[in-house]
Symmetry: C2
Subunit: 439 residues, 2 copies
């Protein structure tokens, strides 16, 4: 390995988020919190392959998805990196039908890959944190009602109390458009409605005119999507619409049941609302849909979305597998929260305490480190010479909270000095007392 080799510039492709260790600590805490929350509600972990067979992974995909994926050949195999965690779930469930117990509650937290043009806060490699509940043939609608309480538990655990889970039902939307005899244009109309918050009511109206809708129907649509108020008021207004469409009626009934049980699951009124403009672009949602807004940071957009689908894996199996699920796009969320400055002042290192041994013989310092570690206290032992200034400078640089300086006197008396690096406060105690304090 010659030192005279021409150096290669160390870099990565743009659109990939790589964090410094002190940032990674914050990111990992978010993952840990989300995972603990998902487990609390009885979701079991799976971890599907990163590389899938293209013919399997792309069985359903088309258009935009096909263009974005990382697809390549290796030997005789046509392979693609997973671009979400939903298609792999469908494949996994269909593949393991006999081993899986239904209702199947799984979570998966992992990276997905999309070769799109990177933008601020959008990444080509990013973490998704998904839960889904899959039924065998049918799935109780109460699962739809439990989802918002999981979102609530999760975001409270992440430190956010001021959020709103927005709920809608695709049957209400689709039924409404069927009632207006607009089922053909429904998906185009929904796409525009979905943009309401971004582009405003007038622009949505213009778009609907462009689609060739008559003024009367546009009026009905605009009246419908601007229905608002408390949950009960919205339901009342929805019921007041005299629609003979069965899908619509069924949708309103579902929305009633779901919102009633959401309350029973302990969600407070302030944390959820019905929003009839939410459609969730994806074609496969067929019932309840969710979006979640952090009210103090509305510019972030939805931080947790999802919904109910009739059939998870129709491309892989004849078995009908209805489900409901949500996803948190963690890399984007972390990036936005970090930009806002929410992680400032957090600890900079995984270690709670650094031990600074000042004598030649490290035996005693090692014993102290061992004791701390055995008591689940993350401990760094610093060997960098005997210069206390150098050690203190390093401790400051890594941002460790406490240091313990160990010299000959400490070794003889067993009384150690614990110094808080932020406040400068010093405590002199034996190791057992210090363990108690640090715990």
């Amino acid at each position: 390995m010659s030192e005279n080799l021409k150096k290669v510039k160390p870099k990565i492709l743009s659109g990939f988020m790589e964090l410094l260790p002190h940032e990674q600590i914050n990111f990992n805490k978010m993952i840990d919190t989300i995972r603990a929350s998902y487990e609390r509600f009885g979701f079991n972990p799976i971890d599907t392959a990163t590389i899938e067979l293209s013919e399997v992974l792309l069985a359903k995909a088309g258009g935009e998805t096909e263009k974005q994926v990382y697809r390549f050949n290796k030997g005789d195999n046509d392979l693609t990196l997973r671009f979400d965690l939903t298609v792999p779930l469908a494949r996994y469930v269909a593949q393991n039908l006999n081993e899986i117990k239904f209702p199947f509650k799984r979570y998966q937290i992992g990276k997905v890959f999309r070769g799109e043009r990177p933008q601020r806060g959008r990444f080509r490699e990013f973490y998704q944190c998904d839960i889904d509940i899959i039924g065998d043939g049918s799935l109780n609608i109460l699962h739809d009602a439990e989802i918002p309480s999981i979102i609530s538990y999760t975001f409270k655990a992440l430190g956010f109390n001021n959020f709103t889970v927005k709920i809608n039902n695709r049957k209400v939307l689709n039924g409404f458009f069927q009632g207006l005899d607009l089922q053909e244009q429904a998906s185009e109309i929904l796409k525009n409605i979905d943009k309401l918050e971004k582009i405003g009511l007038d622009n949505v109206k213009d778009q609907l005119v462009k689609l060739g809708l008559c003024e009367v129907k546009i009026g009905e649509i605009l009246k419908f999507i601007t229905i608002s108020g408390e949950v009960k008021e919205v339901i009342d207004q929805l019921e007041a619409i005299k629609s003979n469409n069965d899908l619509y009626k069924q949708g309103v009934e579902e929305l009633k049941t779901v919102t009633r049980y959401i309350k029973e699951f302990g969600m407070s009124k302030e944390n959820f609302t019905i929003d009839l403009t939410i459609a969730r672009g994806l074609d496969y949602y067929t019932g309840t849909v969710y979006e979640t807004i952090l009210n103090d940071y509305p510019q972030i957009g939805s931080v947790c979305s999802g919904g109910r689908y009739d059939n998870l894996a129709s491309h892989y199996t004849d078995k009908k597998l209805p489900g409901v699920g949500i996803s948190i796009g963690l890399s984007r969320l972390y990036y936005q929260l970090n930009e806002i400055g929410l992680f400032e002042g957090n600890s900079q290192t995984i270690s709670k305490v650094m031990i600074a041994p000042m004598s030649e013989d490290l035996s005693y310092a090692i014993t102290i480190a061992k004791t701390l570690r055995e008591n689940q206290i993350n401990t760094e032992l610093n060997y960098s010479g005997k210069n206390l200034k150098v050690k203190m400078k390093y401790a400051n640089k890594i941002g460790v909270e406490y240091i313990i300086i160990i010299g000959e006197e400490e070794e003889q008396t067993g009384i150690l000095t614990l110094k808080n690096m932020k406040t400068g406060e010093q405590i002199k105690e034996n190791i057992n007392k210090l363990v108690e304090i640090l715990k």
Copy 2:
């Protein structure tokens, strides 16, 4: 989404490990344990990109590595999936030189990808769990001595007490061969010595004859590699070899220091040994090298290996960055332990308790679930109808430890029945008492 579409067979490429949820729970516990152990010793997390630029990632690679990698083009970019966590570490350190604090202690746990022919227990996509300590210009040899205590802490936490960390020093090996004027053939000879345990002494001898070595030198080599005994005895024998080679002498000194401090770090004699046959094929190790054997399962081979290197990132920077590190190949280890049957009888689901509500109104059952979850008890709420038999069957299938049946009586009295599904034992108490028991 038509149900009449031709179905695609759901499958993945061979050589990819995908687990069922109850297996994934065990796998994740191992990851959690390893991570906690690495953090205990003050290693900070990083998470490098999965996809790297080929010109950067493969700057140093050649031959076998190049053949194995997953390499592909996307747009104008020539990309490769990471094949280990060491090259990305080198690139990351060189890229972030100004932000990193040295000595830089990092861990990374993540998947790496190698498109080799899959074999039993060898995977194309697998987890590595790495720690490294990188110095800026120099790195205290005490870090070499601390490594075995980290291995020890980790494997004890994983439930293994009967293991041996085998230690050697590349300077001893290289110096020894220089002393025999065999430096040119050293790397070929080391490759054969590395296989000693697999192929036996006679075969190693044959291989050395094939390399064209004279009988005297082969005799010296075989005498050398069969040196054994307690650490002190081995050191004595190494010192007894009258070598004028400086590298050799330096290596023996290092081995002396490292093994002395290993003891100070609290390793018991039974858990480490000097093994002069360990060379760790890789060219970049230059000092201490490690292998770890689970003595009850020697057939698994080394479960944790690594060593000291002079310069981590010479392809990316002029800065000299010596380091020492180890890696656990977790997917392979899990696979082998699972084959041995070590996870049998472990819990089958993430939930500690399942609630079985028997009345129409779920409000009370939901309150109980909420209380359990707020007390960090993973809880599944079962909605599948009112048939107790169906619920019990499901509870048995998912393997949950406890169930709480909630009917009208329970709702009125507040006295709940907690049933242990394994023993059949039942306890009647209020929810606060049950929380205490379940915690």
